[in-house]
């Protein structure tokens, strides 16, 4: 069984925050009137201390097969992906394999990255999640196709609603720290233990209804903390 969740320590969280937000500014107010991707590429945003944002690295890989950019991205994300896979019960050798597999997918699929749809950490997380299902659980990962003729598009009035995804990632990380432990633990277990809420209820001895209502309360809180960004 996985051991209890190692809590984020404040130093790690702050470090991670600054890696994502290379500008040392705290994004308090969001001006939704600006075209988002342009705003995020504002002059100065990408040359803080010579470091490039992770989103810039992925775009450099897509634009010109930029190997140094990939090496930088790998050095940051691969050890975190390995930690994620270990938490999900993979043995170290399989975890390394899935990390290699996922990062190779990042290299090959970089052109499909769209920072208006997802931040770098989110996009890489979804790739690792899917590669794990494929390689370790040996199942397919069914997903909708954005260009499916049967897909019901978003109503026209929300067509411009672009999510500030890197801000969402940072805001969510802060928000989950502010949840009561009984709620944040369940959310972490949902991502890191490969258990259904029913199995979480059995493993924790909590009634299923309690698990469901705590998860719903936690998700509601996280929504409230990010609704202004969507």
């Amino acid at each position: 069984m996985p051991s209890p969740a190692p809590e984020f320590n404040a130093g790690d969280a702050a470090e991670a925050w600054h890696r994502i937000h290379h500008r040392a500014t705290t994004p308090v107010a969001v001006d939704n009137s600006l075209p988002h991707h342009r705003h995020m590429e504002a002059p100065g945003a990408s040359d803080q201390g010579g470091a490039r944002r992770h989103e810039d690295l992925i775009e450099a890989i897509a634009a010109r097969a930029d190997r140094p950019a990939f090496a930088e991205l790998f050095s940051h994300f691969a050890p975190r992906l390995k930690a994620y896979l270990l938490r999900l019960g993979a043995d170290p050798a399989s975890a390394e394999e899935v990390v290699q597999d996922a990062m190779l997918t990042v290299w090959r699929k970089a052109a499909s990255f769209d920072r208006r749809q997802a931040g770098a950490a989110t996009w890489i997380f979804t790739i690792a999640r899917n590669r794990r299902i494929d390689r370790l659980r040996r199942e397919r990962r069914p997903e909708f196709l954005p260009d499916d003729p049967a897909l019901v598009p978003a109503p026209a009035e929300s067509g411009d609603a672009v999510v500030w995804t890197t801000q969402v990632e940072g805001r969510l990380r802060a928000a989950i720290e502010s949840l009561p432990a009984e709620q944040s633990d369940l959310i972490r277990r949902a991502y890191f233990e490969d258990l259904s809420h029913r199995e979480i209820a059995e493993a924790s001895g909590l009634p299923l209804g309690t698990v469901k209502s705590r998860i719903r309360l936690a998700l509601q809180r996280l929504r409230e903390r990010t609704d202004d960004l969507a």
Binding site: A78, A83, R87, A118, T126, E139, F144, P149, A150, E193
Partner: protein, 226 residues
């Protein structure tokens, strides 16, 4: 017909499990097919995936094997393994009624599939989806019900989740139309009825064996496994 937005959605903890990657394959097919029909849930999925990104990127890094970086740099020019299998062509009815990813699991057009009759007004097509299909824990099926007809009354030992693909059915006071997800637990003894005038096509994922209730149902139990 204008697109309408679904009124009934997967339970929040089920969408969370799909975002986290812990939902079984059959349940994931149902959720992802609902997502194709529900812009609101697609938006919520984006938030839940961002949460996964934030949590996984916030984990304390685990040291990699010493040669991990050089190993992957050496692999960047490898050709991609096999190109994805070509997707089969479907007829207009199938493409319109059944969004991806469910469509790819059908194996043919709706009109050509080996439907099995279940009573006078109900046809069923079991689908083998994922690893759990072989161990018997979770079953998935397409179900067509003639307009105005009732499904056999039944209860289940586990949860039954139904996604409406075309037509509509009434279950108690609720009307479930295209894209709607109905979730019934073992506590529900229910008898959904298809809305008259149009056949209702559904995709159902059922955990645990079904138990039919009512006099006809009890007879049914002896020789069918719905």
């Amino acid at each position: 017909m204008p697109d309408t937005v679904p009124a009934f959605h997967p339970d929040p903890e089920v969408l969370l499990a799909y975002a986290a990657g812990s939902l079984d394959e059959a349940g994931s097919v149902l959720v992802a097919t609902h997502l194709a029909l529900c812009p609101g849930c697609r938006s919520e999925l984006g938030r839940l995936e961002a949460l996964g990104g934030a949590l996984s990127a916030g984990l304390p890094p685990a040291p990699l094997a010493a040669d991990a970086l050089s190993a992957i740099m050496a692999r960047l020019d490898e050709p991609e393994e096999s190109p994805p299998a070509p997707t089969p062509e479907f007829d207009e009815e199938t493409r319109r009624s059944v969004p991806e990813p469910l469509r790819s699991y059908l194996g043919g057009n709706l009109r050509d599939l080996p439907w099995r009759w279940r009573g006078f007004a109900v046809r069923e097509l079991p689908l083998a989806i994922g690893a759990s299909a072989t161990d018997g824990g979770i079953r998935a099926a397409l179900i067509r019900v003639r307009g105005g007809a009732a499904l056999p009354a039944h209860t289940h030992t586990g949860v039954e989740t139904t996604l409406v693909l075309s037509g509509a059915f009434l279950d108690g006071p609720s009307r479930f139309g295209r894209g709607d997800v109905a979730t019934a637990t073992s506590a529900d003894d229910h008898q959904p009825v298809a809305v008259p005038g149009e056949e209702c096509l559904c995709f159902a994922v059922i955990e645990g064996p079904l138990r039919l209730t009512g006099p006809i149902g009890r007879l049914f139990n002896r020789f069918v496994r719905l």
